[in-house]
Symmetry: C2
Subunit: 553 residues, 2 copies
């Protein structure tokens, strides 16, 4: 156990979270990956293909199955995973959770930090696994499923470590009552809620799941990890690493179980509805997410990140090209398959103010589509930015986008990928619609589809963006204005519907990105989801403070 | 505005909460009530009878009504309250909330602390109002609706004051990227959720409502106070005082509105289901409470305190008479109409161990019923401890208790009240049942009804108490054991179902009591309710952290 060693990291993390301090002050990630780490990672990944995944320490298995296929090659990965009956998963979770709950917070934090270090040894393997299940580019696969996911997990561990020790374990209490006084010994216990389920998605199988997994674990709950059947491998590698570290530290590896299933025989509903499940974390579409939210009771807490319609409000800019390049990158990155990607661009019919005078709507639109075309067609940047589409449904939606209505300003097309000629690619389609076309823009069009909405003026842009966030949820909002008053107005309007605003982003920073230890990912206040990475509720609701009192004679 | 003056009080309160420190260190309540305060309070109360309640600063009124009657005299109070259409209440709440949300946390804390001081001037008036609506004794009416309620409200203000300032308002952020670095200015805003509703009950109209009211207000939300139609006056006096202080400080008095209604035309459901309502606090029966819980969405947060079945586990005692006197008081206090009152006494068939050897089940039961009889019949203590039954339903339930099944060990009877000959009184009925009679003891029997459940042994007692709490909720559990191992076993079992245990209480301290700034009231983890006075969630879930980012050139 490496508690003493990790204490410093955790304390720094706690401080960082508490202060929401400079990212640059956050301790640097170890650079010890080694020069040959990418090659070793790729070899490790290839070695896993076309055989059963045997790393898990789960012995109770009712069968083996797997259906992953690479969005880059179109070929099945051929990996099968152990299937376990839901009742067995819950039973093992309850048993292992009882032991886990008895560990001290410091011990749990130590073991979990060690688990994160262990996962780090697999970053490149996980990167290849992510790439060939989600369609993310190699670079994004490494970052999102590797250090960024571990950062978010460490954030959950750190905040849990802090909150679990908020009240003292013991306290003497005395009530003076004139000549006598009553004395009690009080004891405050942070009691874990029970067994948790973390439901993953097919696009961010590690980044979106690791915070919930580590939040469940630091607060003393056993966790059952239910990945999307099309993206199991990346998180399976992480779960196996966690299990290894648990067992090495004398814990039951069933404290963290993988619950693989298949599209033909899904187990998610049966698992979530099991009365033994006390916590559910969900990332994915809104319809299933709302079902999951309906399962909440006083004895079962649900955390969701669903879908939203993210807006861009264009009012006035300094450097229009810098803005358009930034936005073109935001909508192209992983082909719009990020929950943070912008979709609805609100632009006044009179266009936008620039340093060189007013730029009309059509010209603004033209600069934007030109920036997308330049990026998508760029021999070095294009394929690497777009990545691949995770599945055929998203591809079909992108192909059908031109039929949504409105004017097609840019038609999406397949983009050649030099390394993978069979990659499932499609560049962004850009449509022009009017402020009245709500039936088109009031829903999430997941994937590379962008709508430019012609509004009367910025007032109307703000009002519509606000309405969309309130009614249909929003995770991000980008706004461009050089007017301080308009800036304040946008902030007030969007914040009132619990949507954060990123102002005037240009250069190498994009609205899609939320930094661990500094940005909240999802606020939890609008229909895009009820939870936030990582606010205090994300940890607090996983355990219950219970106070015992003993009369002292 | 008295912010500087109050800052010290709030800081002390914050510290007290944070440390869960000695109650005795908590700053003493001002003793400035004055010698004539009780008389002035009674006169004030009498002056309110038989006329419209005109203190509220609410002008939009659709009618006047009132139906309160004193449980002590049986006579109607004759007070009418302004009725307001739900749409008007919500509209005014939204309007006033916008201004209130713009106040700084320090300003809100200052105004709210001043409001608590103003309420304090009405403590005796509120005491008489509480007595003649709820049936609480004079002493309990003063304590529960006066200082204890204000303590809980101050606790909410203090914790809110702390949590709302957890993240800095502004933060500079820099991401080093090799030769360049990206700079952002980050802003963190605690955005209030919107308009809250606080639904009161007929037995603790102030104590149970004030924490939610002040929690809504400190976090920047407007609040609509919906009292039980049979117990409006106590909280109406408090709301009027809050409105006075709001207006004196330049705020809109509609920030805190009273929403009176009648049994014939109840408005609670219409009010709660209004899409403009973002927060609901509820205290009352479980059936309506579960309906209220079903209204929760990502945009509407619900806090409930419903009913539970509270257990007493009797294993072994030092001084059996001291224990029985303590328990007799606990079940008699306000005639078992406290949500914390014990109902199910689990006693092994072999009886309990005492310092003088084993005391058989029958003898243990006899000592308990004798203690109740002595207390209820005590000329000075009896009527004052029992108070009166709030309503006829509770009286009828008490009268019918003998027909529930099992053996009647003690029959409840009317208890003479010297001061009020028409008081609605009934002493506790005690029944003996077996461990198999679950259909009798698995539900709350609100009022003066106690069940002694004969178990095989303490193991079975613990198992049944645990089952009841898990399945039907529990707010308290009292346990008596001189065996450290059994004590630990009881704590583990009951804590695992999120129920606190009070061990070996004798003397002037009872399981029914939960101290502000020191005890959690309800844990929020079992079916007795999803909220807790006052943990961090009770404040945190009333606002949403939203982070804005601005690119720095």
């Amino acid at each position: 156990m490496l508690i003493a060693k990790h204490q410093n990291t955790i304390d720094k993390a706690v401080t960082a979270n508490h202060e929401r301090t400079f990212y640059s002050q956050y301790p640097e990630h170890p650079k010890a990956y080694g020069e040959d780490a990418p090659q070793r990672g790729e070899a490790g990944f290839r070695d896993l293909l076309n055989k059963p995944f045997k790393r898990l320490r789960q012995q109770v298995v009712s069968g083996w199955a797997g259906e992953e296929a690479s969005p880059y090659t179109g070929q099945p990965l051929g990996i099968t995973y152990p299937l376990t009956d839901v009742d067995e998963l819950v039973k093992a979770g309850k048993r292992s959770g009882q032991q886990w709950a008895r560990q001290s917070v410091a011990d749990r934090a130590g073991i979990l930090t060690e688990a994160l270090e262990r996962i780090q040894h697999h970053f490149f393997e996980i990167a290849y696994a992510t790439m060939h299940t989600t369609g993310q580019s190699y670079m994004m696969s490494f970052q999102a499923s590797g250090p960024h996911a571990n950062d978010r997990a460490l954030e959950a561990v750190a905040l849990g470590y802090q909150l679990l020790q908020h009240y003292p374990e013991k306290q003497s209490w005395e009530k003076p009552m004139g000549k006598i006084s009553v004395k009690l010994e009080k004891q405050f216990r942070a009691v874990p809620r029970g067994v948790g389920v973390v439901i993953g998605c097919s696009t961010f199988p590690v980044w979106n799941s690791l915070p919930g997994i580590f939040a469940d674990l630091i607060t003393g709950n056993a966790v059952i990890v239910k990945p999307h059947p099309k993206a199991i491998l990346p998180i399976a590698i992480a779960v196996a690493a966690i299990q290894d570290v648990l067992e090495e530290n004398g814990q039951d590896p069933y404290t963290c179980q993988l619950a693989a299933d298949t599209s033909a025989k899904p187990i998610t509903k049966t698992l979530c509805e099991n009365p033994g499940i006390s916590l559910i974390d969900y990332t994915g579409g809104s319809a299933f997410g709302s079902y999951v939210e309906s399962l909440a009771t006083p004895s079962r807490v649900v955390f969701t990140e669903k879908a939203g319609v993210n807006s861009v409000i264009l009012d006035s800019v300094k450097d229009v090209d810098a803005v358009m390049q930034n936005l073109a990158f935001s909508v192209s990155l992983y082909s719009g398959q990020m929950c943070t990607a912008p979709q609805n661009f609100f632009i006044p019919e009179s266009g936008i103010a620039t340093a060189d005078g007013r730029l009309g709507f059509d010209e603004t639109a033209a600069r934007f589509t030109a920036a997308i075309t330049a990026l998508a067609g760029h021999p070095k940047m294009g394929a690497g930015t777009l990545g691949a589409l995770q599945n055929e449904t998203t591809l079909q939606r992108a192909k059908d986008a031109a039929k949504l209505g409105g004017k097609v300003l840019l038609s999406g097309t397949a983009v050649a990928n030099e390394e993978f000629k069979d990659a499932r690619t499609f560049s962004p389609t850009v449509l022009e619609v009017t402020a009245k076309d709500k039936e088109i823009f009031e829903k999430e069009l997941f994937g590379p589809v962008v709508l430019l909405i012609k509004t009367k003026d910025t007032e109307e842009s703000i009002r519509l963006a606000q309405q969309m966030a309130a009614g249909h949820g929003a995770i991000t909002c980008a706004a461009y204005t050089t007017n301080e008053q308009v800036k304040e107005q946008i902030a007030d309007a969007m914040n009132s519907v619990f949507t954060p605003v990123s102002f005037n982003f240009t250069g190498p920073i994009w609205v899609n990105q939320h930094a661990a230890f500094s940005d909240f990912h999802v606020t939890g206040g609008n229909p895009a989801g009820n939870a936030s990475f990582t606010n205090q509720e994300f940890l607090l609701r996983r355990f219950v403070w219970v106070g015992n009192r003993t009369y002292v004679e």
